[in-house]
Amino acid sequence: MICIFYLLFSIFNITMLTPLSWLKEYVDITLPPEELGDKLTEIGLGTEKIEKTKDDTIFEFEITPNRPDLLSILGIAREIAAVEEKKIQFPKFYDLKNVKPQKALPLKMVTDSKINPRFTGIIIDGIRVGDSPQWLKDILTKAGQRPISNIVDITNYVMLELGNPIHAFDYDKIKGKVMRVHQAKGGEKFTSVDGITYHLPKGAVVISDEEKIIDLCGIKGGENTGTYEKTKTIFIRVPVEVPSLIRRTSQSLGLRSEASSIFERGVNAGGTVEALSRTVELILGNAGGEIVSPLYDIKKENFLPWPVNLSLQRLDKILGIEIPKAKVSSILESLNLKVKKVSDDKLRIAIPTYRNDLKIEEDIVEEVARFYGYNNFPKTLPSSQIPTKTVPYFKDYKLEEKVKEFFKAAGFSEIYSYSLVSETDLKDCEVNPDKTLRVDNPVSREFEYLRPSLKINLRKALLENRVNFKDINLFELGKIYLGSSIDNAREPYFLSGISNVKTYYEVKGLIEELFDELGAKNDISKNIQILDEGVFFEIDYDDLIKKIAARKRFVPIPKYPPITEDLTITLKDKDRVGNVIEKIKNQSNLIRKIEVIDRYESNVTFHITYQSDKRNLTREDVEGVREKILKTLK
């Protein structure tokens, strides 16, 4: 089978090129193309493009995965017939039910309904392989397909027309006249009709004759039994395949055909005989030959329409409007869904086999709603109860906003960077890639690892901006991804920033101020680094949230005035300002605040505030404490 549908891999949706003239063979269309396109989009047949050509109009439809029936011209015509309230005109089918072949060629079939639920086929002898008639070439070309030969074109044409994939084998090349459907062991070689050799994955459903694999079921036919110029006798097979088996093989080979797309979504299991009849009609008419076998139709079940019940009350409850009973019935009937009234409230609906998407009541509700017209519905707001409990996984955006506004006010601009970074990025930040979370299938080497720090991108951002700006302050609040393997993976929010304007002490003060503002306590000196590009900080935001005091508590204004004094102390070699402050503080509970107001080499001036809640302090009180301080620091 040759690629027929135009597969748009970039967006992974299947697009169907549909000539208007072809649609008109089955349904009388009165709406102008633009209007028709809008209406079809509203009912779920996304009209991506409408292109006017010399003698036709080509629609480009995007087909959702639940509607394999719309991967056919007739399927699309059915939707249009429902929109236009018209009847479908079916094409000519050869009557296979009453066929009585003059002679019968032998063919044995061994199959298993678990891997091949239905196997319909017939043998035709005495055909002439050649070019297709012009009309056939034209219509296939318009549908985005390259004409090959009459036999191949007809099987493709009928697949496009009815939605059942069909494959024609050269009967003479089937060794032993046997077709055995089975699953591959794995590793077998198979060359497809287009000459490409594949190593089959385990479980791939294939057909073998006495000596070789001749078909990769539901995906591609084999080169060894394809139809070529010299072919005289063909076996035409119209199967039903198991969606998950086709999908697995197609994915593991990275090989997709229009046939596999249909099968993995669910083919019309009740339509194989019709598709075969149509194919026979066209082959006998265009390539000659005669039927030389009975109609084979190997299956375990009958593939009949199935019932789905609809309660009209429930329909109205889900939709929020009352749709008259007659309207409901007429919509469903227009879609060829047979409606039987069970009670005043209940309808039983027979689902044709090509509508695999209709399984439950809600599916029927959608059918009614989309043809009633989504844009004809009134709009209401939910009248139900507003939840009062805090939701699981609650995120406090008010707090986040406060934090971000704080950095904004301090002159920092916010960036959003990619979570995925490269190995080089990691190494630049001295991170071991082997201990970093990694995706197996990156879009490129540039985006392979999950960032373990916001430093990587902030540094790069600062460097990029240096071309245009002198003073740069940037911050980001985002997830980082920690853990050496996914067994111990964590993804905390981090708050990081970089500045080439502010000093270490300014950045430190900024974070201290933020923590004060939030009522959180933490030692943040380890969170600041001096890089070549500037001062960088990072804060574990999730951890910060946990440390925030639930509510600030008011402290009454002191009744008694403070006394302040400045002390200049010469630090000894090992002294750190932080330790000195700690030591000073420990000398008396009259010390309320210690600030550093000046520093010159090892001389640090501390501004000390003394205060008591109980009385006015005297000079003598302060002198006593001061002596203690000086003594400790000696």
């Binding site: 970039s10 967006i11 992974f12 509203e42 009912i43 779920g44 991506e48 995965p65 639940n66 969606p243 999908r247 797309s261 979504r265 889900i318 939709l319 929020g320 809600e362 599916d363 959608e366 709603a369 989504y374 009134p378 709009k379 209401t380 707001l381 939910p382 139900s384 109860q385 507003i386 939840p387 409990k389 939701v391 699981p392 996984y393 609650f394 955006y397 971000k404 950095f407 006010a409 601009s413 916010e414 959003y416 979370l437 990694r438 197996d440 299938n441 879009v443 985006f447 790069k460 951002a461 990029e464 901006n465 700006f469 302050n473 911050f475 997830k479 991804y481 393997s485 996914i486 067994d487």
Partner: protein, 345 residues
């Protein structure tokens, strides 16, 4: 002694009000409040008063001290104002002001806060969840079993599982914030109204309207008696609040396995005003908010009875909303840290 104090106050106040410049004020301050100022000297005598007088006189002295200090301050301000007025005459008010160096919040942040606000007014709370997600929450719980063709529309990044106990393919980067539906639902009971703004990942080639990392805001409501008209009304209300009353919207049928019926929402492209441009794939419309009534299988997966409760779910394409709101013609601008872009917001 009280009379003496009052005398000092009166004379101090009148002298201060007559002062012509700061220097005179400073002298007056010393004259009354200095170490040997008139008031200071008098106050020093208070301890020698009889016991019953000490307290009332002390209070009076304090009041007078305050009054003098306040008057000094007031007069000082008045004198300086005169000076400011003189200065103002030398100012060129057409000179641009000196702006403080404040930063800028990213447009995505601003849109997210607006989204959170609008939904808050409708009773929704915000939540967030893991980006490193299991196949179960991202797909299976959402009625997308393995081998489901709908998985094709969401090409997935798989995490390297080599050094772990996890089966390959089980841990992914979430492709949709909808992954939070089952997570939230299984931990609570209806009524539920939640939104989940967050980052998603899909294996896609990057272009003006696609990226491998992008932002969505999932939302869902579960309760008794939830109607399709409620979903239409909610979408309409929210998008008009966010994008302006005048926007044009239309609804269409679509299919996502976790909703039935499925709804897609299109907004007239704000970049080209509906004329058609590369951003809206020349259709004049931009897909902005896919939605639908929650599929019974999703409710069943979290142990709810779909005969008793129902709900709707939606996802706002946040990245796209930002670009449409600010008429940015390329999604990649959102991850570009160039301050020439950021400073505009």
């Amino acid at each position: 002694m009280e009379e003496e104090l009052i005398g000092i106050k009166n004379s101090a106040v009148s002298l201060i009000i007559d002062a012509k410049n700061p220097k005179e004020l400073e002298e007056l301050k010393i004259q009354f409040l200095g170490r040997s100022g008139r008031l200071t000297l008098l106050i020093k005598k208070i301890p020698k008063l009889p016991l019953d007088k000490k307290a009332p006189v002390g209070r009076l002295a304090n009041e007078i001290k305050n009054t003098i200090e306040e008057t000094l301050e007031t007069q000082d301000r008045n004198l300086r104002n005169i000076k400011t007025k003189t200065l103002q005459e030398g100012i060129d008010i057409t000179m641009p002001g000196i702006k403080p160096a404040i930063g800028h919040l990213h447009p995505l942040t601003q849109v997210i806060y607006d989204v959170v606000d609008v939904f808050k007014s409708l009773g929704y709370q915000a939540a967030n969840g893991p980006e490193i997600e299991t196949d179960y929450y991202n797909f299976e719980a959402l009625n997308i079993p393995k081998d489901h063709p709908a998985r094709d529309t969401q090409q997935t990044f798989y995490l390297d599982t080599r050094s772990s106990k996890v089966e390959p393919g089980e841990i992914i980067l979430r492709t949709q914030t909808s992954a939070m539906q089952a997570r939230v639902m299984e931990k609570t009971k209806p009524p539920i109204r939640v939104i989940v703004p967050g980052k998603n990942f899909r294996y896609e080639q990057v272009d003006a309207s696609h990226g491998f990392e992008f932002w969505h805001c999932e939302g869902f409501l579960v309760d008794t008696n939830v109607r399709l008209t409620d979903l239409f009304g909610t979408i309409d209300y929210v998008l008009r609040k966010l994008m302006g009353e005048k926007i044009k919207l239309k609804f269409a049928t679509t299919n996502f396995p976790f909703v039935e019926p499925g709804v897609d929402t299109y907004m007239e492209c704000t970049v080209c005003k509906g004329k058609g441009c590369s951003f809206c794939k020349y259709s004049g419309w931009s897909e902005i908010m896919p939605a639908g009534m929650i599929h019974p299988n999703v409710l069943k997966a979290v142990g709810y009875n779909p005969r008793e409760v129902s709900g709707f779910a939606f996802a706002i394409g946040l990245s796209r909303l930002v670009t449409l709101r600010y008429q940015m013609n390329d999604l990649r601008l959102l991850t570009n840290p160039d301050l020439r872009i950021l400073n505009q917001f």
